[in-house]
């Protein structure tokens, strides 16, 4: 249908990004293809040590599933997006396809091995998340392709993660956020993935911060070095949510806090977190 209707057609999933944009006339599609009527597009399957999400799986379905036990960082994300009404409607597929610089899913999923399945008239292809999101509001999707599934590898035992966002109120995007997924060996961090949200045009993979953590014992010194590297990796804009300096400081503090939670979860502790509100 997308290839028949041409450039003027758009897909409608949860509509929690598209409908506000249409109201503002930033989007003005001549045709909407409503994915909500396609059965079997909302699911969470657990197979071959990976979780597979249907494109129309709502944030709230992920929040209320048995995910927290398996991958706590996904729960932190799903349960913290906007408010209950938006979570009941918005979808994981729509969030990745929108590639909003402030969207939560791209940040969290970039700390895990995530693949996006893209379906077009010539069949399905698999794209790594890091290649899928190319720029703000820009993905690897061709005009006549859609996201058909999101596949996330379940982290190995001994791995733990946490996602923290700093928000002014529930129904708004975060001011800054940090996702940390790490593997521990005693008190030493064996492997780490760190991503920063809302401080760049896309989620930022903080490579220097990861390097400052990998192979190091979790100590005050390590945490300071990692936070400093995360601050340096951030590339925030000043806007109504805060100045660039403020966001940079914030993101360092969030990374530090997320690491301490991730470490405890890696040890098998059950730690509940919630986003921080101004």
């Amino acid at each position: 249908m997308l290839s028949q209707l041409g450039d003027d057609a758009k897909l409608l999933a949860g509509g929690q990004s598209l409908i506000p944009l249409m109201k503002l006339r930033f989007a003005n599609p001549a045709h909407l293809i409503d994915l909500n009527f396609i059965a079997g597009t909302s699911y969470i399957h657990n197979a071959n040590s990976a979780l597979r999400f249907g494109p129309l799986t709502r944030h709230a379905e992920i929040e209320n599933s048995d995910i927290p036990a398996r991958i706590p960082i996904l729960y932190d994300c799903a349960a913290g997006i906007a408010d209950v009404q938006v979570r009941n409607r918005g979808t994981i597929g729509g969030s990745l396809a929108e590639a909003d610089p402030s969207g939560d899913w791209a940040v969290v999923l970039s700390t895990l091995a995530t693949q996006v399945r893209c379906l077009g008239k010539n069949g399905e292809r698999t794209v790594h998340l890091k290649d899928f999101i190319q720029d703000a509001y820009t993905t690897a999707l061709a005009h006549d392709e859609l996201v058909s599934e999101v596949v996330v590898d379940i982290p190995a035992k001994g791995s733990g993660g946490a996602y923290l966002a700093f928000k002014r109120a529930a129904p708004v995007y975060p001011t800054a956020s940090a996702a940390v997924q790490l593997t521990m060996d005693g008190n030493v961090c064996k492997d780490a993935a760190i991503a920063l949200g809302c401080v760049g045009l896309t989620a930022i993979k903080a490579k220097d911060a990861e390097a400052a953590l990998r192979g190091r014992p979790i100590s005050e010194r390590t945490l300071s070095a990692v936070a400093e590297a995360a601050r340096a990796a951030a590339d925030p804009q000043s806007d109504m949510r805060g100045s660039a300096d403020y966001k940079r400081t914030l993101v360092g503090a969030l990374v530090r806090r997320a690491i301490t939670i991730a470490v405890r979860r890696a040890r098998g502790e059950h730690v509940e977190v919630s986003h921080l509100y101004a």
């Binding site: 009404q85 529930a170 129904p171």
Partner: protein
């Protein structure tokens, strides 16, 4: 834009209406079905005054198309009363001052009813968290928390009495 015939099920009744496919659910409810309980507060998805339940789940009717809801059961504040009289939570909002100008109240009703159906005995923190999606400019919210606790108490007493 050309109108199309769609069928909406609202508060247990089916309605056939001819509307533009781009019409928001909120406008279809208010303009085509004369159900003016649901309110447009902000129109930018942040106040919750337009909240309705779709198959029992609260959603923003200002951020959905009516045409997306074909085949689903929509509940608005008009469908909340029980046997022609106010539901316990509506009465408690009145008694405790949880509603003042009343503009936000229909949205709160839909959110609170869902919260209580999922979690009949929420903690104060759970109530606050559950209501973080709806704005009120009059009450200051504490009266609502009291009203909700009173409604839960009334419900529990009622249940105990009927045992």
């Amino acid at each position: 834009m050309k109108k199309e015939l769609i069928e909406l099920r609202v508060n247990g009744r089916s309605h056939e209406i001819a509307i533009e496919p781009s019409k928001l659910l909120l406008d279809a409810l208010r303009q085509d079905l004369d159900l003016t309980g649901s309110k447009r507060g902000c129109d930018d998805s942040s106040c919750g005054a337009c909240t309705v339940q779709v198959d029992g789940t609260p959603m923003l009717s200002c951020t959905m198309l009516a045409a997306s809801c074909e085949g689903q059961e929509i509940t608005t504040v008009e469908g909340v009363s029980e046997h022609g009289s106010l539901a316990a939570i509506q009465k408690a909002y009145g008694d405790w001052g949880g509603s003042q100008c009343g503009y936000c109240t229909p949205g709160f009703m839909m959110t609170v009813r869902h919260l209580l159906s999922q979690n009949p005995n929420p903690t104060e923190a759970e109530i606050r968290g559950g209501l973080s999606s709806n704005l009120c400019r009059c009450t200051g919210y504490s009266q609502m928390y009291q009203a909700i606790k009173a409604a839960i108490d009334a419900e529990q007493k009622g249940m105990a009495a009927s045992r």
